[in-house]
Symmetry: C2
Subunit: 420 residues, 2 copies
Amino acid sequence: MFSHACLPLLLPLLLLLPLSRAEEGLEFPNFDGKDRVLDVHARNYKKALRRYDMLCLFYHAPLPASKGLQKQFQMTELVLELTAQVLEDKDIGFGMVDAQKDAEVAWKLGLEEVGSLYVFKDDRVIEFDGELSADTLVEFLLDVLEDPVELISNAMELRAFERMEEDIRLIGFFKGEDSHYKSFQEASERFQPYIKFFATFDKAVAKRLSLKMNEVNFYEPFMEEPAILPGRPLSETDIVDFVQQHRRATLRKLRAENMFETWEDDMDGIHIVAFAEEEDPDGYEFLEILKDVARDNTNNPELSIVWIDPDDFPLLTTYWEKTFRLDLFRPQIGVVNVTDADSVWLDMSNDEDLPTAEELEDWIEDVLSGKVNTEDDDDAAASRGRAGGHAASEEGGYDDDDDDARGGYDRGGEEGDGDD
Amino acid sequence: MFSHACLPLLLPLLLLLPLSRAEEGLEFPNFDGKDRVLDVHARNYKKALRRYDMLCLFYHAPLPASKGLQKQFQMTELVLELTAQVLEDKDIGFGMVDAQKDAEVAWKLGLEEVGSLYVFKDDRVIEFDGELSADTLVEFLLDVLEDPVELISNAMELRAFERMEEDIRLIGFFKGEDSHYKSFQEASERFQPYIKFFATFDKAVAKRLSLKMNEVNFYEPFMEEPAILPGRPLSETDIVDFVQQHRRATLRKLRAENMFETWEDDMDGIHIVAFAEEEDPDGYEFLEILKDVARDNTNNPELSIVWIDPDDFPLLTTYWEKTFRLDLFRPQIGVVNVTDADSVWLDMSNDEDLPTAEELEDWIEDVLSGKVNTEDDDDAAASRGRAGGHAASEEGGYDDDDDDARGGYDRGGEEGDGDD
């Protein structure tokens, strides 16, 4: 159906409207073909930095020789062009920096990771290492444009604050704008928009949070009790250091805006990954169990579970199902080796009920001790797959040498067997 | 920067990875160039219907003459191709039906709205009239593949059910699979995936919901108390009729999956639209006020407020800001004329505090009575804009003839003045 004619680029990305509608008010933007993304090099980068409130530089590998990769590259340019167009009135510049041709510029600006986008705002640099889609990028940049600290001034806003359990949040109580608040604000800029900073100047709000004057609390995601930052008043450095030490949470949600950064931050080459759809009763229940486990183990620096809500990544769902040989209509938890995507998953298919927090903790202990791992059962799984031809999920998939009833079964690594 | 060379289509849509990463496990799909979308016509449509578990037909206007629209058309094809590729293992067929060339097929299959996608599953047809992006479409189709009724079997799952206040939900209590549950299940298929159906066979769960045997409750979004469907046991028709009568909620959230359908379902040519970012303390607070208003007016058939969370539509945010002359970093409420996107917005910029539920109800009353409308102040606004050149939001923008302190100010309709 799809004609292999050539497609002049300038297109609505992702987002095209059915042609002609009678109603107005929901028009998705189409790329208008106007070049807005600069080719940044040694002679123009300083001017670009001065010219815009914010400058976004995409740091990329040299144009590849392969046709397929060239197309990917052009699509990246298109995503940037559309983003620039959509944000045209916000005084944001966009540019590309070639890791080879513009090595000097990259070195001077401190660009390090090929494939990342760097945002220069005032005297800060913010790295974006997330999904390079126009949607995600626009949302991210709009977040960067907001104030880095949100003020909480009444009970209703406090409720909003309390509901954000998925985020790392800090909240401080200060006298007003002209106070130690300033250090807090400066610290907040270092983590915007990834870590959320709140402040209150209101005694009643502070009392509800048991916050003393100039005190700052740190909320790890999904934890009920905050940690109190030691000392007060706190300097910018005090706050920055504390956040840097505590930012890897025991349970962290994968988000499009920094998904690659999260994935790179593995624990000895592996991630414990949990799939759970929060909107689904089963998924919600499993997530509540995971939260219990995280709360029990919040002080274990060896443990950080990556929670993925498949609803947030529709285009990756079937890829994960194939790569990991999983049914993502159900909650799942497993260990993924990030160098080859080899994986082992806890078998939960035989039970009516989900595992209890205790059972999950036992399994996690086995993972951390190396008893459950992605390598051990590769042979067994492969031969089982070849012999029976059953799907992993149907077969139950116990790890033979596992001493409790729940085991691990390797669904990654091989191709073409045991997959229905 | 962006070279106007021609781009052979077959590309990763929206979603391209920075080239080469060391880690594996998060690979977004690129379109592989293989044609999967059928050109459906009178001679092959019956076979296509038989061949797949589910068949998705995009009903489109004839290929337009204009180059720009042709590109849009090709991008739609690409979105469908990528969706077909991603869902390759799910036994879903995809096809295009031309409103002119294939008029006969369209008539036989009952396709009516150009620009909609029709999903044929068993003996049902489900219309998709949402954002035509691969993300939204894949998520929608994965939802359609799930069971149309979710079972609630314990207290934790019940909590998940209770949290879904944004959705229209039905829940019924039945003896088991072989019972009046069957009529409920059949009714659910008529509304999947737009309206959520839940059932329980568990006495304790039913008790918590005060559900009697064979009783079905209907939860309007954001309402605390459900409506009880009259009569029991209920036939499929009883349930379908009730849902059809009650599906337009007093407060409804705009969703990508059916945004155009929602927008078409206007009230005498207008929508009352509220923008509120739920993740933002201000937005959360405003939304809570809106919910109060909706609860007070749930029996008013004239009132249906469309709530838009700008976070859900990053690519439309700046378009709305321009079209409606709004600052979407703050909550907003206004009236939009859907035929020309002309609009009037409640001025909330002069106040520290958001309006109370009572103030909001007074304003809504003025809208429903026609006292606040999008036409009255077009001249005044235009001349004010020309004379002062101030931004609407800075000026306060009272409607001169409004008798309470809050007025409406027309930010749509004209171009190029009063916009900073």
